[in-house]
Amino acid sequence: MSKDSILTAIRRGLKRGKLPDDQAAMLRDRMQQHPRHLIPARSRLPHAGQVDLFVRNVEKEFGTVARVADAGAVPAAVADYLAAQNLPPRLAMAPHPDLRALPWASRPLLEIREGRAEATDAVSVQHGFAGIAETGTLMLPSAPERPVTLNLLADTEIVVLRASCIVGAYEEAWDRLRAELDGMPRNVMLVTGPSRSADIEQTLELGAHGPRRLHVVVIEDTDRAA
């Protein structure tokens, strides 16, 4: 069987047999501890600074951001964004309890369908699990209440993210994921700005296969002075 022959060939190359138990135990320990390596200093800031850095980086990568004072202001922010972009008021929304709890009734003109995205959807609303300030990256782990297709099929993706879920470095987001979710989700997308391609004459064009627009609504749920 090829598995055995490949492993044998690797060990022959490394000039040793199977790792002795004590060394294997050390490597298992390393995986369990998953030590961090050098983390760039740029995101080592007070939390308010991390939120600002996150917003700056999303915008640098051609995303847009609306900052709202509380969850109650999200439906208005979404409706205003759609109107400003001349988009239809129809949303495919993640069936996430945090999103369901928003006062959508305050905007009766918004048509909301919960579930995964279909190819015909123009706008999706996704639940942001974490924001990573280092590069303005959203962490979007899959779950029944957070379908992956919402990140891919619509022309415009809107992500609702609590400021308290914004961290400095990727490593902090991984730790949150390990702490709050039951094991590695099936799919974890790290999304930095809208889809793009530079394959034609090495010149950047937005909106290749994924969303042409990425809009993040940040709920300022932390005390800015803290």
Partner: protein, 477 residues
Amino acid sequence: MHIATSSAFKENASKALSNSGLQKALARSGPSFIARRAAAAAALPEFERLRDTARDIKNHALANLDFYLEAYETKVLASGGKVHWCADAGEARDAVLAICQAAGARTVTKGKSMIGEEIAINDHLEQHGIRPVETDLGEYIIQLRHELPSHIIAPAFHLNMEDWEAAFRKAHTDLPADRTFRERRDVLIEARTKLRSQFLVADVGITGANFLIAETGSSVIVTNEGNGDLTQTLPRVHIVLASIEKCVPTLEDATSLLRVLARSATGQDFSVYTTFSTGPRRPGDLDGPAEYHVVLIDNGRSAMLGTDFQDMLRCIRCAACMNHCPVYGAVGGHAYGWVYPGPMGAVLTPGLIGVDKAEHLPNASTFCGKCESVCPVRIPLPKLMRHWRERAFERHLTPGATRTNLALWAFLARRPALYRMATRAAALGLGWMGRKTGRFAHLPLASGWTGGRDLPAPEGDTFFARYARQQRTQQAQ
């Protein structure tokens, strides 16, 4: 099948130099890659130290590769996926075909994968009545034009707007013939529309993997377009093609490598979509594939472990080496004659298809060292090319005239007094012969040089004599 034409590098290079479309593309795109990487590196004070970290992580993973691959497989199985271990390209093609046939697949979408090119999976599927559709924009036009990618992250590096228009007009005959392609955006929108329908009908999606993670059993893809994600999310079956050296221990290890990958490749701080996939759809999930297969491919890698070429297995396929290579910049990727071009190709290709078929590639270098200076995992590419040159020489693959001249040079170089005498005589003689014009349009034994340009006549003394004189002056001061 891609028949390697690496042994015809010289002929390929001559053709490339006189290909005006290619030269236009190279002149446009080369400098921008270099500037973008430089800006990204300069914006991150820790960048050089992150390169050391990246190198150390890959070295640790390679030194324990058997352990981490087994740990990785355990995790994939636990998440409901399957791992197919394949010793060579043939086994890998058969494994992919068997999965596709079991799924009753007629259309297969593909994310960009260099190992997919290496094992020539598209041809194999086509021969068995399955239609592969490349979905990365660059790979899509490469497939339409039936050629190999000319660059590992920018497959259509060698093409210009007029080539895109021509290929699209030829392939998309269902669209109005009088439509116009005024700007790049028109090309992009047409491709997006055409490929969207393919994503929706595909039965199987095949992607590559930038990393495999032992801790979680995840495969990682990195794209800007989102095509890889559509490929692995929409069809019923997802197949990951990955070579064995992609395996790293933890999420933190992969994260550290990702910090140098995009910056070295496109000069982005981070690619748009970095996606970690772990097994098939879970209970309650509204989307995602029902089956998740990893085709794990050796194809020559294990034979590089423990040799001079082990360092090459650190490569994370960022393409910085080719972006900065003066030889690649002059002749482009196709001249290298197989899947991997540029300095990384010059080292990897002889290892994968044999130095007898790729002997020219390690010689296609000025040894300027730029590739090593930008490699995010610090692969000593010039040193590895030199090792291949030595092997080719030892195996008598080097042409007779080159061997004779090298032997003559070696004879002199080992006898410094004689060497200085000979070079002094040559410098004085040539200087005298060329004293009128200061250059030679023709010179016996130097037609390789004078065929393309004049050879300047030496002025005055040899380097050694001048150096010695300078040293004496400095000491006297």
